[in-house]
């Protein structure tokens, strides 16, 4: 993996929200590199900061949230000479620091064209009063500058790309004439029409039923290849992850606790939270036995977190887990985890049986 393969580098990002006079620390010093052309899945339970993280990439953080430290370096944008302080240069080349973007004028250079996003609920993410054609067309007109007949042609071709049958007729229809799955295709078409370099999919299949889920995921894979996209998936559905992701980042309480190739995360997880997450998969449950569930609740992010955020819910926690925050330990060049268990001085702790089983299956498979 060469260095200039990085399209996005998030460094020590810290995001806070002020809520009724108190401050919530939603993202706690998170670092993550995203590689050009990969599909990265960010998994974690509700409220761990997945969506907050991604809203930062597109400048849609709620107005009471703010970045107080760190940078989001995006390599792939030309420098805007009128605002030179938003840009910088490092070992990967010229970057735009999205963490410094404040004005709408600056964000309009990023949104759509560089980073685009697919929202969770297709039933509400389309304007009910505009035709599908007009809504896809708006994106094309903005980013590709087409007008009139050429615009319509471009819209129809995108509609074909996302497999909407009979696009000429569908073009003139309104969102209420589409089913949920079809609407999600329209939303995807709008995102693709912007020609983004990074496509963020915020739980794109959660609101759809299982058969449609599979179709939409397949479509996304196809489009990723065709348009050479870098895709970031936010999900808590590990089935989706296994289906589509090259790399997986496991998030817990505003930080990435484990990061690795999909096979490494599924077959050789190292962080106790990843163990717990995988153990609670219904597919791994044994018939007749109660399904595993993680005890306790995520930490209160209004108060500072000491040590490993997962320690209070972790039956295998070490004493140091409650005192000091673990650094990342490399498991392989592509796999790292933030747990003291990987420290050479740590006692040998066996992962749960279910994980050991996965491990041996993966080993046998490889």
């Amino acid at each position: 993996m060469t260095e200039n393969n990085t399209i996005l580098s998030i460094r020590d990002l810290s995001v806070r929200f002020s809520l009724r006079g108190r401050v919530l620390h939603a993202i706690r010093g998170l670092s993550l590199d995203v590689h050009r052309g990969e599909s990265l899945a960010i998994v974690g339970e509700s409220g761990c900061g997945k969506s907050v993280l991604n809203k930062n990439l597109i400048g849609l953080l709620d107005s009471n949230g703010f970045i107080d430290e760190g940078s989001i370096r995006y390599y792939g944008m030309e420098k805007d000479e009128s605002a030179p302080d938003l840009y910088g240069q490092d070992e990967n080349g010229v970057y735009a620091d999205l963490a410094k973007f404040k004005k709408e004028k600056d964000w309009l250079r990023v949104r759509g064209k560089e980073v685009c996003m697919i929202l969770q609920d297709p039933m509400t993410s389309l304007n009910p009063l505009k035709t599908i054609g007009a809504q896809i067309g708006e994106a094309i007109r903005l980013h590709q500058g087409l007008r009139g007949k050429a615009l319509k042609e471009a819209v129809l071709s995108i509609m074909r790309d996302v497999r909407i049958d009979n696009p000429e007729r569908r073009y003139k229809q309104y969102p209420h004439e589409f089913s949920g799955g079809m609407r999600q295709r329209v939303v995807i078409a709008i995102a693709i029409a912007c020609r983004p370099k990074i496509l963020i999919c915020d739980e794109p299949t959660t609101a759809l039923d299982v058969t449609i889920q599979a179709q939409v995921l397949y479509l996304l894979k196809e489009l990723k290849k065709k348009y050479n996209l870098t895709v970031i998936f936010i999900t808590h559905d590990l089935g989706v992850v296994a289906n589509i992701a090259d790399r997986v980042a496991v998030m817990y309480a505003g930080d990435i606790v484990e990061l690795g190739m999909a096979e490494e995360i599924f077959y050789d997880p190292r962080h106790p939270y990843t163990w717990a997450l995988l153990s609670s998969l219904p597919q791994l449950g044994v018939k007749g036995e109660e399904l595993f569930s993680i005890q306790g609740t995520p930490p209160n992010l209004f108060t500072p977190v000491h040590g490993d955020a997962f320690a209070p819910r972790n039956p295998r926690a070490l004493k140091i887990d409650f005192v000091e925050r673990p650094p990342y330990f490399d498991v392989s060049p592509t796999h790292k985890a933030r747990t003291w268990l990987l420290d050479p001085r740590a006692p040998k702790v066996e992962p749960p049986k279910i994980i050991q089983k996965l491990n041996s299956e993966g080993g046998a498979g490889a």
């Binding site: 929202l119 505009k130 309104y174």
Partner: protein, 314 residues
């Protein structure tokens, strides 16, 4: 669409018939003393003669039928007895209706032209100075009794414009103050609801998606949010027009405008049956037409609403 309109009009016509019948029958239940200015001095015979002259000695269904026969065959609403003795109702109303309708229409236009941009800007600058000023205005208009500021407008407005306190149909300047006064309530109403609907809409997912697409917030405001926020308001506009016309009693009396705003109350008090029926008919027509327009407007603005019952929409 034409078929729907036809059906709709036919139904409205029946509604009008029902309204008129009910009003007609109710008015006939009033004590007969009211029909004669000098009832105390009349003999029983004179009273019976008088009633017979008005056709009121006949059974109720016959009276109703006669009323409708006169209305549809001769366009005759009867004659006024007390308001202006022996003058046909149509003759009394004819000059008054256009004045009221004109005043009402102008007030409505002013309210739309001022209220809609005001609501839009308040939503756009939500929580900022303009929003606060607008909110203060709305609260003032809604909380202070209209009579208070109507009087102020009349006293200081006429002085400022250098015109007489009394309305003069020929002089356009004298239209300004009544129209302005009449539109104030609706300006506040439109601005308040539009702001509210726009603020609601702006948190919707489709607005988020438009932002993600890279559409500027000004464009989103006008091309996405405004239309969505305007749909729920549209259906009330014709109704508020009606309210403006009916509710102009005080303004019409302040400026001595020869409209029909105050007329209804007046003739009800005087128990002038034929006049009441005539005015109710006019108001009911305006109301029914207003409702039809409101629905038409909704259909034009919102593709999810369609004519007829089997639109096939979810």
């Amino acid at each position: 669409m034409l078929k729907y309109l036809g059906k709709r009009l036919a139904r409205s016509f029946i509604t009008l018939l029902i309204i008129l019948t009910i009003v007609f029958v109710l008015m006939r239940q009033m004590p007969i003393e009211g029909y004669f200015p000098n009832f105390d001095k009349m003999t029983n015979e004179q009273i019976q003669n008088g009633l017979a002259l008005m056709g009121m000695d006949q059974p109720m269904p016959v009276q109703v039928l006669n009323f409708f026969k006169n209305l549809f065959l001769h366009g005759d609403l009867g004659t006024s007895r007390i308001y202006r003795n022996n003058v046909p109702v149509t003759e009394i109303l004819a000059p008054k209706i256009p004045v009221s309708i004109q005043l009402g229409s102008m007030a409505l236009i002013v309210a739309l032209v001022v209220g809609i941009p005001m609501g839009t800007l308040m939503a756009k600058y939500k929580g900022r100075l303009f929003d606060h000023i607008g909110t203060a205005f709305i609260v003032f208009i809604q909380a202070v009794p209209a009579a208070v500021y109507y009087l102020f407008i009349q006293l200081y407005g006429t002085e400022l414009l250098g015109i007489s306190l009394i309305f003069d149909e020929e002089n356009w300047v004298s239209w300004v103050l009544p129209v302005f006064s009449m539109s104030l309530g609706n300006i506040a109403y439109y601005a308040m609801w539009l702001r509210r609907y726009m603020v609601d809409e702006s948190t919707k997912d489709y607005v988020q998606l438009a932002k993600i697409k890279g559409v500027s917030s000004n464009r989103i405001m006008f091309t996405h949010i405004f239309r969505n926020a305007f749909v729920p308001m549209a259906q009330y506009i014709p109704t508020s027009f009606l309210n403006t016309v009916v509710g102009s009693i005080y303004i019409e009396s302040l400026y001595s405008i020869p409209g029909m705003g105050g007329l209804l109350v007046d003739v009800v008090k005087k128990q002038d049956n034929n006049m009441v029926q005539g005015i109710v008919l006019v108001f009911a027509c305006v109301g029914v037409v207003g409702l039809i327009f409101g629905d038409l407007l909704m259909v034009l603005l919102d593709p999810r609403i369609s004519f007829g019952s089997k639109g096939g929409n979810r």
